[in-house]
């Protein structure tokens, strides 16, 4: 079974091909379908709040027979790949995996850089310089594989209900399958280059799916923004890959990491640069501080896409990559310091923005950015296991939250503004209950998934050491704890605004409210269940409770001399930290409940009135988009040109201007000389030339063929002369 691992990405690829071809073929015969933006959809392009809802365009739906085919192929391919993935994992065995068993499946030699193909002989030092097309199944990729395929499958099922009325049904599933293919390639890659292929593939699919409603300008713009911002990160990532290749002479994970682990002294000096480059890639893909701006805009895509790509799987690729390269990162305390600071700052920064957003998906988007910051914070303090643990639990509850918000949006016929919701708890009970469970999970209510992973991160941060900045762990821990409170607050604010109180939308919307179909509620229930039990794989304190730590141990080994944070802290300390985080979460929940559910938003309104500048800053997301617009778009693209022009006009032009002044003086002297003596000669010469060329002018017929004839004749003459007189 383990040798069938290649089927895991291939099934979605086939699904993509079938769906794509059928979609193209059926839409050629059925006319324009969902392609041309109809006049009725144009006004919506102006409002950025009506993003990605299922009833956006009322074009002719896909023909039923094709729709069934898209459904079966789209969900079936991912389901099959999920089955194969689990079978392969079980074939290797969970126990053996945790003892370091791994399986590398080399499909073919991809780039035989150093092998002389003619003789098969290896020419000297280039011996190892080959890149194989190889898949790697070890405990880290098994963990990712398990939840990516399973959550992916659930979201595909959900999409059947959510996108059911959409004209581009087949196109949607084709993109989604292509995404699964790319993501699975990323996860299973056995070397940096194949990882990069998957990395770019998910970036492309992210672009395609954000801009799925491409006839709306804001969606198309959001897609472009995501793509461009990710390019900045990818630039760093590819530089990091070059660095690894130059240092190790190989891109294979096994070879690179064992070399780095066995001879740390040799490689350590270079690792800061390499790791920071790699981390820049992760910052772009996982939406960390300077490059996070694309993720909130990415909510323009359909909601299941936000759940799958921009919450559960793709954005965690950066964390996965950093955890995969943990051996390299540990060699550079400075790089880890940067990772921790960026992660901690992003967590707090995004959470504060999330406090005041009014778009249900925007709140979740900033929450995702914040939680990703948590994961990087964990990686930065050396607790890669805790980071990966949070990746898994976050995938469950954030996917559940996004799908739940999709269900709310679906029930309200496309409404995303929290100010026009309310009182939905009784009308859509299944959505409400699952959403509430996931909210408690993300807020860190004890015994739910988020509690354990967040607690693991907080404990690791508290216990961490930074030689360069001994005060830093406490600062980071305070920030992370405060963020936990903010998280609980804004999530429960969301729940209160959407599900409690009176309905604030129009009467027409109220009549329309309905629970979603089974294809949408079943994934919600499953994900809510996982949000409850998902954390039980990493229970601290209990002996043998930290299963995930044991499972990942072969990939995330404890290095001597590195941060010794993997050892369990004292139980009393652990309990105290837990109590602190639970208390903070409870305060956040309680405040949100009293302010928004019972107080109906009077206290926050007063606060906003008391601190108008602070509120405006938060509401406008610290004006980061505006700053980027001014600095990079206006500044570099437009202002840069003007700046260069100014330089040209003032500095560079000094030289010709000075020269001109000098020349003027000199020419005044020579003018007198010229006029009398030289002019006579010149005029005489000119006259004779004029007469001579009057004749030659005739040869300029303007007919190319004449010129060609003369050229050919000339060539003939030259060759003839050469042959005769040589």
């Amino acid at each position: 079974m383990r040798d069938l691992l290649w089927l895991v990405p291939v099934f979605p690829l086939l699904g993509f091909l079938v769906n794509g071809i059928v979609y193209l073929a059926s839409h050629r015969t059925h006319g324009s379908g969902g392609h041309a933006p109809g006049p009725g959809t144009q006004p919506e392009a102006e409002s950025s709040t009506a993003a990605g809802h299922p009833h956006a365009h009322g074009h002719a739906e896909t023909a039923p027979k094709w729709k069934t085919l898209h459904t079966v192929v789209g969900t079936g391919s991912v389901g099959l790949s999920c089955l194969v993935a689990f079978a392969a994992i079980l074939d290797l065995g969970i126990g053996p995996l945790s003892q370091g068993a791994h399986h590398v499946l080399t499909l073919w030699r991809w780039i035989p850089l150093g092998v002389n193909q003619a003789t098969g002989q290896v020419p000297g030092p280039l011996a190892e310089w080959v890149v194989d097309f190889a898949l790697r199944l070890d405990s880290l990729s098994a963990l990712m594989l398990a939840f990516v395929t399973f959550v992916g499958f659930l979201i595909h099922v959900y999409s059947v209900g959510y996108m059911g009325h959409d004209a581009g049904y087949g196109r949607y599933f084709a993109y989604l399958n292509l995404f699964m293919f790319s993501m699975l390639t990323l996860v299973l890659a056995a070397n940096f280059l194949l990882l990069f292929v998957g990395w770019e593939g998910v970036g492309l699919c992210s672009y395609l799916l954000i801009g799925y409603d491409y006839h709306k300008k804001f969606a198309a713009d959001a897609g472009k923004k995501a793509f461009v911002v990710n390019r900045i990160g990818d630039f760093g990532f590819i530089l990091g890959i070059f660095g690894v290749f130059a240092l190790f002479g190989s891109l294979d994970f096994g070879k690179v990491f064992s070399a780095a682990a066995s001879q740390p002294a040799i490689y350590a000096p270079y690792m800061t640069v390499v790791c920071l480059c790699l981390f820049l890639g992760a910052v772009g893909k996982s939406a960390q501080f300077p490059l996070y701006v694309w993720l909130p805009d990415a909510m323009a895509g359909p909601t299941p896409v936000s759940a799958l790509i921009h919450a559960a799987t793709m954005v965690t690729a950066g964390v996965y990559m950093v955890a995969r390269c943990n051996v390299l990162f540990r060699l550079s305390p400075d790089a880890l310091l940067v990772v921790a600071v960026i992660g901690g700052f992003t967590a707090l920064f995004a959470a504060t923005i999330g406090l005041v957003q009014n778009d249900i998906k925007k709140v979740l988007a900033y929450s995702t950015v914040s939680q990703l910051g948590y994961m990087f914070l964990a990686c930065g303090v050396g607790a890669f296991v805790a980071g990966m643990f949070h990746v898994v639990t976050h995938a469950f509850f954030k996917a559940c939250l996004f799908l739940g918000s999709g269900s709310v949006i679906h029930a309200l016929g496309g409404e995303q503004d929290l100010r026009r919701m309310g009182g939905l708890a009784r009308k859509i009970p299944i959505t409400y209950r699952t959403f509430l469970v996931a909210t408690f999970a993300i807020a860190g209510v004890p015994l739910l998934a988020g509690f354990f992973s967040k607690d693991a991160i907080l404990a690791a941060v508290f216990e961490s050491h930074f030689a360069r900045a001994p005060w830093l762990p406490k600062v980071l821990w305070t920030a992370a704890l405060f963020t936990a409170g903010l998280t609980a607050f804004y999530m429960f604010r969301l729940v209160s605004l959407a599900f409690y109180g009176k309905f604030r939308g129009s009467a027409e919307q109220e009549a329309h409210v309905h629970e979603s179909p089974r294809s949408m509620t079943v994934p919600l229930v499953v994900l809510a269940f996982l949000s409850v039990v998902g954390g039980w794989i990493g229970i601290p304190i209990l002996r043998g409770g930290d299963r995930i730590g044991e499972f990942l141990a072969p990939v995330v080994p404890a290095l001597a001399g590195a941060h010794a944070v993997e050892h369990a802290p004292a139980i009393s300390l652990e309990l105290a930290l837990m109590a602190a985080s639970v208390a903070v979460a409870m305060v956040g929940l309680f405040l949100a409940w009293t302010w928004y559910a019972k107080g109906e938003g009077r206290v926050p309104a007063q606060l906003a009135a008391r601190f108008p500048r602070l509120y405006r800053t938060l509401e406008n997301k610290y004006f980061v988009d505006e700053i980027y617009e001014a600095a990079f778009v206006e500044g570099l693209a437009k202002g840069g040109g003007r700046f260069l022009w100014e330089v040209d006009a003032t500095v560079v032009d000094l030289i010709p201007n000075g020269a001109a002044a000098g020349t003027l003086g000199a020419s005044a002297v020579s003018q007198a000389f010229d006029k009398n003596l030289v002019d006579g000669a010149v005029n005489g010469v000119a006259d004779s030339f004029q007469r001579g060329f009057q004749l030659l002018r005739r040869s300029q017929t303007g007919r190319v063929q004449n010129y060609a004839l003369v050229m050919g004749g000339g060539l003939f003459c030259i060759v003839a002369v050469y042959l005769i007189f040589r």
């Binding site: 002018r697 303007g702 063929q705 060609a708």
Partner: protein, 101 residues
């Protein structure tokens, strides 16, 4: 019959001459373009013949470059054809002489 380099050279020469003559005497812009292509390919044949004879890959590399340039040339030539036809409603090259001095 043993095919020597001379055979290649003769064929190449004939092709080149036909092409050159075409460029000189044909009036139709398209035919002129095709004749130019003929000349280029005659050169390619020549290059490859010598490359084979001398066991030196440089000639083949050059012919690949020539093919690349020929593709670009054809594209530009056809674009010119279209704009010429739009302006003059004819493809007669003798009509296209308005820039003569």
């Amino acid at each position: 019959m043993n095919i020597t380099i001379n055979h290649y050279l003769v064929v190449s020469f004939l092709l080149f001459s036909i092409g050159f003559l075409g460029v000189l005497v044909r009036r139709n812009f398209l035919t002129v373009l095709m004749s130019v292509e003929l000349m280029l390919n005659a050169v390619n044949l020549n290059l490859i013949a010598f490359s084979r004879r001398l066991s030196d890959l440089t000639g083949q590399v050059f012919s690949v470059f020539v093919i690349t340039i020929a593709a670009g040339e054809a594209a530009i030539g056809l674009a010119l054809t279209i704009s010429l036809f739009r302006q003059r409603r004819t493809l007669n090259v003798e009509e296209a002489s308005s820039m003569r001095g």
